[in-house]
Every structure is written in C-alpha cells, then in structure tokens.
C-alpha cells in the first residue's frame, strides 16, 4: 500500500514538474514570438519613417519632373450676399 502511494506520488510530482517545464518552454516561445513581432513592428515603422521623409519624397518628385511653384498667388473668395463663399 505504501509502495503504491509512493509510486503515485513520484509519478504525480514528475508529471507536475514536466508540465511546469513545458509551460516554461511555451512562455519562452511566446516571448520569442513577441520579440520577433516587436522587431517586425520596429522595422516597419522605420520603413514608414524613411519612406515618408521629406527628402525622399522631394527626390522622388524631382525624378519625375515635379518642382515647387515659383509664384503662388492667393485669390481671396469674397462672400456672396446670400452668405455662401
């Protein structure tokens, strides 16, 4: 009877330990995934920041023949009697 109880206890402890170690590996795996996703997020943010940089946008536009206007004339819209612009 004692031997059976001892065996059950040993098996139980071993199972719990295995479960604990397995959970730890799962946590480590999830942390690795989280880290990878965070890295990807940072990479994408870096790419967005680079792509939206005014220098790059201007170089891209110039390469396609665009340029800043030499003269900009502002024409104020006068209000119509009815209230519309």
């Amino acid at each position: 009877m004692v031997a059976v109880l001892a065996a059950v206890l040993i098996i139980g402890i071993a199972s719990l330990s295995a479960l604990f170690v397995q959970s730890s590996f799962s946590v480590d795996g999830l942390q690795t995934s989280l880290s990878t996703l965070q890295q990807q997020n940072t990479d994408l943010r870096e790419q967005v920041a680079q792509a939206s940089s005014p220098q790059r946008v201007m170089a891209w536009a110039r390469a396609r023949g665009m340029r800043m206007p030499d003269h900009v004339i502002t024409l104020p819209l006068r209000s119509a009697p009815g209230g519309g612009a």
């Binding site: 170690v21 940072t42 920041a49 680079q50 005014p54 220098q55 201007m58 004339i73 502002t74």
Partner: protein, 570 residues
C-alpha cells in the same frame, strides 16, 4: 596466534574517534557556522541578476512623424584570451564592419582583459553575418541604436546620443531622463554550462520605457526651411545662416534651422561646429532689427509720438565717434515711422536721446535681453547688454541701433513675436507634450504670459514695420496678396578680441499678415557677400513665408494703415 596488544587497539580506536570527531566538527562548521557563506557562494554561481535596459523613447514632430527612434542593434565584442589568430580574425572582421584592420587587431591583442568592444550598435543582419564567421573569442551582445529617419531635418534641435545611448546635444540632452526611461532587473538561474534554466528566469522589475517627446516642430516646414536656407547661403556666398519660424500667439516653434548642418546618423564624422544650434546658442549684434525695440521704448514711454518729426542729418558725432546712415543724405525731416522704415542710425539715436538711458534699458530688459528665453535648450545664449546705468551718450546711441550689445536669434524672434501678439510676451517652446508608454500625453506647462507693450503701442509698431516692407528697406520681403511687417538688419561682426571686422550678419525679421499675425520668421545670414539684410535676408524670409502661407493655410487679412511719414516712397 597472539592477540594484538590492547594498547594498540585503544590507540587505533582513539585515532578513529578523533578523526571522526574532526570530520563531524568540520561538518558542523560547514553546515552550521559557515552555511550562509557557502549558500551565498552557490547562489552566486548559479543565479545572476541582469539589468533590463528601457527602450529610449521617440522624438516626434507636431504631426507624429518620427525624428528620432530606437532600433534593435547588436554589439560585437571579443575575449582576447580566446582569440587564436588576431591577424586573421581582424582581416575577417574589419571589412564588413567598416573598420581598419590594424585597429581591430590592436583590440584583439588587448592584454590583461577578457572583454573588449569591437563595434557597437551594428544592425542585426550585420551581427548575424559576424556570428556566422564563428571566430574564436568573438561574441555578440543585444543592444540598441538611435536612428534619425529624417536625417539632417532639425538635426541641431533634436540633437544626438552617445554610444551608450545618453543624449549629449539638443533635446536628446535636455530631455535625456524622460526619454531614457527606467531600467528593470531580472534574475536568471543558470545551469552548470551557463545556460539559463527553463523556469529559472524571474523578472523582478519591468523596465519602464521612456516618454515620447512631441515637438512643436513641423517636419515638412522644417525641411522646406532648411532647403531655402541652404539655397540662400549658396546664392549669397554666405558662411552660414539661421532661421526661426514660430507662432506669435503660442510661442510654438514650427521650424528652427541652422546651416551648415549634419547627418545625425553619422555625427561622429561631422564638423563639431555644425552640431551647434546657432539659432539658440549664438549671440550676435542684432544691428538695425533692434531699432524696433528702441521705437517701442519711445512709443510706450510717451517720449515720442508717431507724428512727431526729427531733423535727421546724414552723420552725427558723439564723444568723438561719428555715426552715419547706410546711404549718404542731407538733413531730412523724418517721423519715427520713416526712421524705422528707412533704418536711419542717426535718426534712431536722436529718438534714443528722447527716451533716455533708464527707459531704454528697462525696455530691453522687458523684452528679455540678457536672460535665457526659458525654452530650456542646452547652451542657450543669454546675450549681453551693458548695464543701463553705465551707458555714455555714445553707448545709448549705438545700442539704439543694435551695436555694442548681443542677443540670440531666438531672443530677437521673440521680440517680433511679442509685437505681433499685441504686446504680450509668450515664452518660445519646442516641446508640445511628453507621451508616456500608456499613450497618455502630458502637455508641457506653458509659462505665464506677460504684457511688455500696450496693444496701442504694438499696433503703432506694426504699422511702422508694415511701412518698412511697403516703402522702406524691406521691400524684398513683400508677398503679393499679403501685408508683411518686418525690419531689416545689417550688423558688423566682431573678432575674438571684440574688435569690429569687415564682415557682416544680414537679417530680416518679420511677420504676416500684419493685422492678424499667424507666423513670425527670423532669417539671418552669416557673412553674405551682399551684406545688407534687405538684399540678402529679406528674400529668404519671403521664400519661407510663401511656403508657410501654403503649409499653414494662412489667409490674407485687412491691411493696417501706414504710420505718419514724411519721406516719399522710393
């Protein structure tokens, strides 16, 4: 068979008892008296406490575009004791890392150490490439690197960090504590081979990420300002220049540019003088842009009325020194508006005589001369104004047109912002808010505003400045459809000994629309070939103002009336 002597048996027994007693005693010492020490040694071998670095926060422009961000990186290190072939390993390491082979070899041969950095902050891809070489004694550590995705945009304002990630210039330095966050700590239990034991890692304290800085700078406005500044420096063969674009109502700075500039991603190769934000840290003789302050003192003290006239000769000698106007002329009848608009040194010195030392010095002080603006930028210049009670007649005359004193470009921009804001001084600001990791924004507290001039006085000054652009020295700052108010400045530079030299700083500071100002722009060129502010700096103001109109959607407003004047339009 004879029995061994009893004495020998006793002796062996005693010996065994003594030996056993010694072992028990030693066990007692180890297990009881010194148990704590040995337990601690065991823990020390098995358990290690590591610092978890907090990620340095981002610096964003007013629209959330990143100006500085933190990326994952790796540090490459060597254990010289384990390096077997310093020459061969240096040959393998140096080319991909962009280092000199002899420097790497010297590091690999460092005596009496087991750790030396080879390179820091390299990209993860590069680190993987180095790891793949599997060189003896070479290792890789996790790290971070600061990255400035917009390159030289606002480089001097944003600043840079050193190799350890601490801010050393600009806002990176000013807000280093807030950006850096708080490092955490974790306990790791290691196996006999030094590998972490699964389940043996425990985070004792999570690192607290730093707070993002949300600036008042508009990245697009900043970029275009830098483009126009660079073009103006080149067109005028100038040594450099500075520009400030700010909102006079809030003090928020939209752009703050200094040329030459640098790439913060490679700042170690930059000229150290290019790292300086001269718009804040340099003090220069303002020259004629200071006539606005003298005129403000004259009007606010009641010493001079706008319609009052002065007989202004072409030259004037005071205490043996002769002052003269830029263009020779005979004695002319001028109002204060004429004097400001046509930038007459002689005329403004006559105005200063009416104001007197005390009231003029008080007005300088009220505008913040001689003190930092409070923007808090590292190394901000206070400028120097001689104490009013020590002024001689020639001192009063010279400071009235901005000579014999110094101010920073930011101080001077604040003067014009005060006039544009109806006479109320608002402290200039570069940071709008800090945003914590939880996304909660904490606005930077604004300084209490204070009135420097009455609204009536600021209106009269605005009329004079608008007149200066319409018919005076500032005509090159005119913008079709908008009324611009502003003033030109041309100031001689002084050398290290304080003596005037034949080099100049040209400036134009103004705002628009004159009756409802939305933006103040200070444009300053250092040593332009054409020295006059109205010729060199006013067109730079005009270009930036035109862009600001588009960018900020500034609408024209009703024009202000011209002040009383006697001179005919040119």
């Amino acid at each position: 068979m004879t029995r061994p002597p009893a004495g020998r048996l006793v002796a062996v027994l005693v010996g065994m008892v003594l030996a056993l007693g010694g072992i028990v005693a030693r066990l007692g010492v180890l297990q009881v008296r010194e148990s704590g020490t040995y337990e601690a040694l065991g823990v020390e071998q098995r358990v290690r406490t590591e610092q978890l670095s907090a990620t340095r926060a981002e610096i964003l422009d007013r629209n959330g575009s990143p100006l500085a961000m933190t990326l994952d990186a790796k540090d490459i290190y060597a254990n010289p004791v384990l390096v077997t072939d310093p020459v061969g390993e240096a040959t393998s390491l140096a080319p991909p890392l962009g280092l000199k082979e002899r420097d790497v070899e010297a590091a690999l041969r460092t005596p009496n150490t087991t750790f030396v950095y080879i390179d820091r902050g390299v990209t993860p891809d590069m680190a993987a490439q180095i790891s793949a070489l599997a060189l003896p004694g070479i290792g890789v550590l996790p790290s971070e690197r600061r990255y400035y995705p917009s390159g030289s945009i606002a480089a001097q304002t944003v600043g840079v960090v050193n190799v350890d990630g601490s801010g050393i210039t600009g806002l990176e330095e000013q807000y280093n504590t807030a950006l850096a966050g708080t490092p955490g700590e974790r306990t790791v239990e290691l196996s006999a081979t030094g590998q972490p034991i699964a389940g043996g890692v425990q985070v004792d304290e999570e690192p607290q990420a730093g707070a993002n800085l949300e600036l008042t700078i508009d990245r697009q406005m900043q970029f275009q300002t830098q483009v126009y500044l660079r073009q103006a420096v080149a067109a005028n063969h100038a040594k450099g220049g500075s520009v400030i674009v700010m909102d006079p109502r809030t003090g928020e700075i939209y752009a703050m540019a200094t040329y030459p500039t640098f790439d913060p991603n490679a700042f170690s190769t930059a000229n150290p003088s290019d790292l300086v934000n001269r718009a804040v840290t340099d003090a220069w003789e303002p020259g004629s842009v200071n006539k606005t302050v003298t005129a403000a003192a004259a009007l606010s003290s009641g010493a001079v009325r706008p319609s009052q006239t002065f007989q202004v000769p072409g030259t004037r000698t005071i205490e043996g020194y002769t002052i003269h106007d830029a263009e020779p002329h005979g004695t002319e009848t001028m109002t204060l508006g004429d004097i400001v608009a046509h930038s007459s040194n002689v005329g403004i010195s006559l105005v200063a005589d009416r104001v007197g030392n005390q009231r003029l010095a008080q007005t300088f002080h009220a505008f913040g001369y001689g003190e930092p603006t409070g923007v808090g930028f590292p190394g901000e210049a206070s400028g120097v104004v001689p104490p009013g009670d020590q002024w001689s007649d020639i001192t009063r005359a010279t400071v009235s047109f901005g000579a014999g004193m110094s101010v920073s470009p930011l101080q001077m921009a604040s003067v014009y912002a005060t006039v544009a804001n109806g006479g109320v001084y608002v402290r200039p600001s570069l940071v709008h808010a800090t945003v914590g990791a939880d996304g909660v924004a904490t606005p930077v507290p604004s300084a209490p505003e204070h009135r420097v001039l009455s609204r009536a006085t600021s209106n009269e000054l605005t009329q004079m400045l608008a007149y200066a652009v319409k018919d005076g020295t500032g005509i090159n700052a005119q913008i079709s459809g908008y009324q611009v108010a502003g003033k030109t400045g041309t100031a001689k530079k002084v050398d290290a000994q304080g003596k005037y030299i034949d080099r100049y700083v040209a400036s134009f500071i103004g705002f628009l629309p004159a009756s409802q100002p939305r933006v103040v722009i200070a444009a300053i060129l250092d040593e332009p070939r054409t020295v006059y502010g109205g010729v060199a700096a006013a067109p730079l103001f005009q270009h930036i103002a035109r862009y600001a109109i588009q960018r900020m959607g500034i609408e024209p407003s009703a024009p202000v009336v011209m002040p009383p004047h006697r001179l005919a339009a040119p």
